[in-house]
């Protein structure tokens, strides 16, 4: 299965009537393995900020999480596993796998819980497969 199929079928799938706005699977170095049509371009400093926050949770909280220039307020995640951000009624969930990071950006009416389920489920599957 190609990475693009993972994004199209497993991340951008229908969840109780809602879909993610954008999703992507990126390598931990920032390289794009696959992404959805309107996923923003991440800057190198944003990638390094995210990696740093995975290693030392709390580094991004004071300044905020930036994705393609958009600022998200950091909320409770899981150390070295999940980073969650909130922006108004929407937000982002980033799940770290063995070699990659799974991104899911959602807007109203999708709920944070639904986004988490989708992103983290795929992430867990990739971890089990060694990716």
């Amino acid at each position: 299965m190609s990475w693009q199929t993972y994004v199209d079928d497993h991340l951008m799938c229908d969840v109780e009537g809602n879909r993610l706005t954008a999703a992507a699977i990126l390598g931990q170095d920032g390289s794009v393995w696959a992404q959805s049509a309107n996923f923003p371009q991440l800057k190198p400093e944003e990638i390094s900020g995210i990696n740093k926050d995975f290693n030392e949770p709390g580094t991004l909280a004071p300044t905020g999480l930036f994705i393609g220039g958009t600022k998200y307020m950091v909320i409770q995640g899981e150390p070295n596993a999940v980073i969650r951000g909130k922006k108004g009624a929407g937000g982002v969930t980033i799940k770290k796998t063995t070699q990659a990071m799974v991104f899911g950006i959602y807007e109203e009416p999708m709920t944070p819980g639904q986004c988490n389920m989708v992103v983290e489920r795929l992430g867990d599957y990739l971890i089990e497969s060694g990716l």
């Binding site: 004071p62 709920t111 819980g113």
Partner: protein, 403 residues
């Protein structure tokens, strides 16, 4: 229009709030109020249970936000041990299933919940509904997971949700952002919340609470009444009756010569209470009385808010909420506001006034009320953890869906 707004949980909470307000105010157009009233009635038909388990009191009831919880019972339990042998002495061992806000003794907790849910609130075995629990700040993941497991496997609930007490206390006063100061029996939590999300990096938890104040009172009374024997539960009652906050530090110094009151204990002993009752209140503002090298709570609150990004400072300071049993002490609020006005920072903490239609002493169970409000939003919209979710993913699903 109303349906679009309903999609987002946090907007919903404010909307439920407006509903309660407008239904009581009758200032909304008749068609709108009829719609809201029928919405409210539909929700009443499938009520969830809300349980706020604290170190001292357990508050539980059906999710009806503008009433106080149906059950407010002490969390402390007694285990009766009967000796089948020759001696007929039965030992009573008191247990606290909840220590410092966290569930420690799971067997006792299960028994307590069984009593609450089946006997107290009238659930029937086989048709359990939805339940919402409140968590204190920084609840370890393992404790949350174990609670979910207990609920689904032992109690067979159909839906579960857990939310942090700080966020719920804010919902109870109609806010989604602000700073909560929760002074409970086992802990003090200071948590800034922005748009329904607790800023964990900035929050602080103190392992001191009503218990320490009771011990202080017992100590002080022991010094001034050396001949009398006081049990902790007596001291606890005395604290609730007499504890006071002096107007400020100078007034506290003056209490050296304050009036001494005589109090008769249930067993007939008479004790005199003088300055001790002011010491209890003062300890919160000057922890050195308890022997702690910490700043007073107002100072701590300001410091915590200053660690959050500056654009949110005003919002947090202007929406400070006091909750927890200890804050109902006479003179506490006035003293807090006085200390706040002495603050050096540009914006001073301002306390939020609970809305008029809320009960008088909503501070005592604001987390429960907030839980009731949240339950009305979360369960109908299926944002909670269902039995199917639990069966598929296991206990860790609680971290994904509940926050």
């Amino acid at each position: 229009m109303a349906d679009d707004k309903r999609k987002n949980t946090r907007n919903d909470v404010v909307l439920i709030f407006d509903t309660l307000f407008s239904v009581s105010q009758s200032s909304v157009s008749s068609s709108q109020s009829l719609f809201f009233a029928s919405f409210y009635l539909v929700l009443l038909a499938m009520e969830a249970l809300v349980v706020d388990a604290g170190s001292k009191l357990l508050k539980a009831g059906a999710a009806v936000p503008d009433q106080s919880p149906a059950m407010i019972i002490p969390s402390q339990m007694k285990r009766m041990v009967d000796d089948d042998g020759p001696s007929t002495v039965s030992e009573d061992v008191t247990l606290d299933p909840i220590e410092r806000g966290f569930i420690r003794d799971w067997d006792a907790m299960e028994d307590l919940l069984r009593y609450v849910v089946y006997t107290g609130l009238g659930w029937e075995e086989g048709s359990e509904g939805n339940i919402l629990f409140t968590d204190p700040l920084s609840t370890p993941k393992a404790i949350r997971e174990q609670l979910v497991q207990l609920m689904f496997e032992t109690f067979n609930v159909s839906g579960f949700y857990a939310s942090e007490q700080a966020v719920l206390s804010l919902y109870a006063v109609g806010r989604i952002s602000g700073c909560t100061l929760d002074i409970g029996h086992g802990k003090i939590d200071i948590a800034p919340v922005l748009e329904g999300a607790v800023q964990h990096i900035a929050s602080k938890r103190f392992e001191l609470g009503g218990t320490e104040l009771t011990k202080l009172l017992a100590q002080e009374l022991g010094k001034s009444n050396p001949s009398t024997n006081l049990s902790m539960s007596d001291v606890e009652k005395l604290k609730e009756q007499y504890a006071n906050c002096a107007d400020d530090e100078i007034a506290y110094e003056k209490t050296q010569n304050c009036e001494i009151e005589q109090h008769t204990l249930p067993d007939g002993q008479v004790i005199s209470i003088g300055r001790e009752r002011y010491s209890v209140g003062e300890a919160l503002f000057q922890p050195s009385i308890l022997g702690l090298e910490e700043h007073g709570i107002v100072e701590q609150l300001v410091r915590i808010i200053s660690t959050v990004s500056s654009e949110n400072h005003r919002q947090l300071l202007e929406n400070t909420v006091l909750c927890g049993g200890t804050t109902s002490m006479t003179g506490f609020e006035t003293r807090f506001q006085k200390e706040a006005s002495l603050c050096s920072s540009a914006i001073r903490p301002t306390l939020v006034k609970p809305p008029e239609y809320m009960q008088e002493d909503v501070g005592l169970y604001s987390a429960w009320v907030g839980g009731a409000i949240l339950a009305k939003v979360v369960f109908p919209q299926n944002q909670h953890v269902t039995k199917a979710d639990y069966d598929e993913t296991g206990p860790s699903v609680v971290h994904r869906k509940c926050f």
